[in-house]
């Protein structure tokens, strides 16, 4: 069990802490994301995975304490974001977790496809720092607002 998975379980479900799993093959993206969380000083526990397989491993290992939101990159080498969306759709116990697809593509077809596969939200990746901060606030908003969580 990785230290991340241990941390997720150790953190346990709690109303005060937003627990995220971010899946993105680009380390720089993950770094920026973590930087943004730090800057907002929100109570967030963020676990990162660099592939869909890693992401599934983390989610499966934390069955007792499932993440609050999954942040998913769409275009990844090998298995891409669609694979994970299908995986979640096939596992009823995971379906209540909101999935936010974060993609560099602003093509409407990609958006439609992801929403059809069960993603709760589709957002184009931030182009500057301010947008990253805004993204964290958005995720915090989903967590605290049941309406936004609705898929």
């Amino acid at each position: 069990m990785t230290s991340d998975q241990t941390r997720l379980q150790a953190a346990g479900p709690g109303p005060d802490r937003l627990r995220l799993v971010v899946i993105d093959d680009n380390q720089a993206d993950l770094d920026l994301f973590n930087e943004a969380i730090r800057e907002t000083a929100e109570p967030v526990l963020c676990l990162t995975a660099k592939s869909v397989k890693q992401g599934i491993d983390i989610i499966e290992a934390s069955a007792a304490a499932l993440p609050d939101i999954i942040i998913l990159d769409l275009c990844m080498p090998g298995q891409d974001g669609r694979t994970l969306l299908r995986y979640i759709a096939d596992h009823s116990e995971l379906r209540r977790i909101p999935v936010v697809v974060l993609s560099s593509s602003n093509w409407h077809r990609d958006r439609e496809e992801c929403l059809a596969l069960g993603a709760s939200h589709y957002r184009v990746k931030p182009l500057d720092w301010a947008s990253y901060i805004e993204l964290i606030h958005f995720l915090r908003g989903i967590w605290s607002d049941p309406y936004l969580q609705a898929r």
């Binding site: 930087e35 560099s104 182009l127 500057d128 720092w129 301010a130």
Partner: protein, 545 residues
Amino acid sequence: MHLAIPRLGNGAGLIMPENAPAMSSRRFFSPAPVEERAKVLLVDDRPDKLLALQAALAGLDEDLIIAHSGKEALRQLLVHDVAVILLDVNMPVMDGFETAALIRQRHNNEKTPIIFISALNPVENHVTRGYSLGAVDYIFSPVVSDVLQAKVAVFVDLYKRTREVKRRADWLRQEAELRAANLELRLDSLLNRLNVGVFRANRSGRLLSANPAYHRLFSINPSTTASSIDMNHFFVSEGDRLGLMARLLANGKIQEAYVQQRRMDGEVLWTSLSMAVSTDVDGTQSIDGMVEDITARKETEAALISKAEELARSNAELEQFAFIASHDLQEPLRMISSFASLMTSRYGGQLDTKGLSFLLQIELSAKRMQELVCSILSYSKTGKMVQRSPVDTADLVQRTLAGFEDALSEAAVEIDYTRLPVLDGDQVMLTQVFQNLIGNALKFRHPQRNPQIRIDAEQIEGAWLFTIADNGIGIPPEFHEKIFGIFQRLHTRDEYPGTGIGLAICKKVIERHGGVITIESHPDQGSTFRFTIPVPDPDARSSQT
């Protein structure tokens, strides 16, 4: 003398002048009837009766041949072709009936008319016997001269007519043979000169004949006899051969089958092979065929197809490349601008103004690069699928102008766009065209005068012709071709902003609509862009929405 015997051929008007050169003309005129006299054979053992017969027939002006006995008559018939035979019934040694029986046995005289002459009193069975031997008439001695002459004349006339008919038939047959021979000569000459192999083979494929082109095609020695050639040996693939022969025997023919065949010298050809089974009068079946070397045609065809495929592939690859490249290029750019803005936000306070401006430069450059990438992306996506619907171009121009509010408020811009039609086209794409062209007219305005833009449309043969004219800075003629290319800029970005993709997109949109776009421009005077949008065929209209 002249009886009422029509001279043969006179009525037909086909008689040749007697002194006409016979050989050279014979192909154009039927031959003159031969004015030969007919021969009449007189057979009697008594000279006095023969004399009486000769006297009676002298007026006929035909050749009279005399025989004094049945035996002599038979001998005469060996050398003479006679029109009619006058035969005395009552002769010693061999009487008339015996003689007649022998005459009838001879093939040539099976039907020669025989008139029996009998001095006897008419006895019923004599006459019957005479008729059974093929007599056509029976007269009694002493003969009445006029009656005899009239009777003989009828037979002579019949004979002459028959002879003429036969002569004509012979002539016609000869003529037909001559024509056939000529035709064969022409056919041979044609076959010899033809560059298509023509052959005839038996059912199993052994050749019966072949023209020189066939020999050339398969590099067969010209002196090789046809019968030593087996066409089955030329097929490259046994499967092809079996398939073709099976089809040939099943359908009776094969039309232009494309098949590979190997020459005697080993070279492989693409050939077009046509064959048909024909049946002779005697029931023998043979194969008539034509074979043509189409290697060059096939190669050209294959080259064309592969070129077209290559082009389509390269086009598809290029579009795919543009799309993917733009996509993948965006990732690092996002990182650059994101990290630069993170630097500014978090560590800006620790930098002096110079350091801050450097960071800003990084951000701006990344944004600029992003614009370019987006341009390629939109260019590669443009026109993938033209979705036609009725487009009100006047409305479209009006909405486009609304987007240029800022530029329009800056200066007194004069815009005239009356008479714009509703046409069939892709609303989104055509908007791009007007945005780019009007945008350019506003952007490249002349520094010393207020911009004037005139947008006009007129219906020409099969299309709408749009004109967008401005009084801006214009474009030197040497750049007129270039400006429709991707990323072609004539000015620095400091002078005029933009990515240089606008006109490339316009061109692509217009071409996807089946139209063309042109420019007419003089530096310092202004530019006029013209483009056409073809009006779809009314018949095709229903399927295009």
